[in-house]
Symmetry: C2
Subunit: 301 residues, 2 copies
């Protein structure tokens, strides 16, 4: 059977100068050295080493074998170190998937920073609100919002995304500034089309009492900018993350509806495929996301 370890042994013998020296150098028995060298010579059908009293010397074939193998095995070692480096240093291709608007607003900047930190890292960001199959599309890390479907993926919770109910002053006025659950249920909502919180939303009032709001809706859009336009235009209320409407709330273009009723924040997680080894690039992007993820009042969860 082909055993390249014998070739390695041969190199050491040549460099050590004798079988015994090689045996000592690698802390083994001269017997082993003899036998494995003999095995190598038998396999090749050629004598490689001219045994002599003090210091064996290579035959012509042995010299060629030494020169060639020295170079090849050095290359092998180099390659393996390089490959093993994938466990140490983030590099190579990193494919990240992320919901469209979240990506456009935050993740792009995070990845630019990540890339700045790691020279050898190439990144591809795939923005999609569809369900993405990490294995199928060879994606390393995906950001997920809300409840995670139980899968074979490992999830790392990055933080929470506060949600709020907003509407245009015009619409709120028209609806009589709803404050109770019942009044809210009368309103029309513009929904983001990825229905991760379905058609009903759990609400919490100031006292901590929970209630369930059935959403009435006649319009759903899968783009945050368009939703904003719709809400600004008075098409209805919207439940969405704070960061989308922060500016409009400040300017008064939008208002918070029923401030006493709070929508529980949804969580943001990064998921990646499970496996015996986590590539350094994956670890790096997770750490970067965790670091960059905005916190709520300094608290992450």
């Amino acid at each position: 059977m082909k055993n390249l370890n014998d070739a390695r042994l041969f190199l050491r013998i040549v460099e050590a100068g004798s079988l015994k020296a090689a045996a000592e150098g690698m802390e083994t028995d001269p017997a082993t050295v003899t036998r494995r060298l003999a095995a190598l010579e038998t396999r090749l059908g050629v004598q490689l080493l001219q045994r002599a009293r003090s210091g064996s010397t290579t035959t012509e074939a042995g010299e060629l074998y030494y020169e060639g193998m020295r170079q090849l095995l050095d290359s092998v070692d180099g390659l393996e170190e390089d490959i093993a480096g994938f466990a140490q240093t983030p590099r190579g291709f990193l494919r990240v998937s992320c919901p469209v608007d979240l990506g456009a607003r935050f993740v792009t900047h995070w990845l630019i920073e990540l890339q700045r930190r790691h020279e050898g890292l190439e990144i591809e960001l795939l923005l999609s609100d569809e369900y993405v199959d990490l294995a199928g599309q060879n994606i390393d890390v995906a950001l997920r919002i809300g409840q995670l479907s139980d899968s074979a993926l490992i999830a790392r919770r990055l933080g929470v995304m506060p949600l709020m109910i907003v509407g245009a002053p015009r619409y709120l006025e028209q609806q009589g500034h709803p404050t109770s659950l019942r009044e809210l249920a009368e309103c029309t909502f513009v929904l983001y089309s990825w229905m991760q919180f379905g058609r009903s939303v759990a609400l919490v009032d100031g006292a901590g009492a929970k209630s369930k709001l059935q959403l009435k809706s006649r319009l759903s859009i899968n783009n945050v900018g368009a939703i904003r336009e719709a809400v600004l235009g008075g098409a209805g209320l919207h439940i969405g993350p704070e960061w989308i409407f922060a500016e409009d709330l400040r300017s008064g273009a939008l208002e918070i509806a029923a401030p006493e009723l709070r929508v529980p924040a949804t969580s943001i997680s990064a998921v990646y495929r499970q496996g015996p080894f986590v590539p350094a690039k994956t670890r790096a992007v997770l750490d970067c996301f965790l670091e960059k993820m905005p916190t709520v009042d300094g608290v992450r969860s």
Copy 2:
């Protein structure tokens, strides 16, 4: 421990497309394939293969490892085939040692023919009448005349070299054309300085009776041309191989002394170092010598 056979296995898995296919292709158990792949991945600390339902695919690290290893191991195989070829095809350097005059007269031509037959063979012919140490001077084959000193060398008898007693007509006349052992013992001999037949020579008469001739000598030379000059000049008799004096005998410049008394032919052998493997170049030169060696009356020994 580093085992490059696992790398070979990995290549087969990639090429076969799945662990099971690889296992079948190399007639082993999928269990073995799994374990050795896992060992490789553990050693490198990196996942190489993305296991999937039908057909595993390489990870990024796996792809690089595959590409690199494929090339390196192909090179290794090429090198080993090349080295193993030393057992099959004569090539490389061949160092031959030979007595000076024998080499100048015959061996040179034989080696030219040998070189003509084998393209990749480089030859160095070392002419010397000194004792040569094959191992010490890295000589592959040496020609030896006469009795072989018992050594660690393997000898191949190539043939015999007929010897004869010759002298110049002038000298023979002066000595009264010696025919008997006693008369010969009165003569002076010019000796070749490599004394492989010592100072006494066994003679055989026409009836097969053996006798011993003690040589009287006042001149020894280690060059055949010079000896011939000396004998032609009447310095004495000489016991030497036929081929040196054939021309002179034909022309009458020299004559055979005591034709009834014959000197037994000496043998010519090729010797080479013993070892577990005989290189193809050594076999080739031995065969060539055996083929080219002149025979006596068509009989070799």
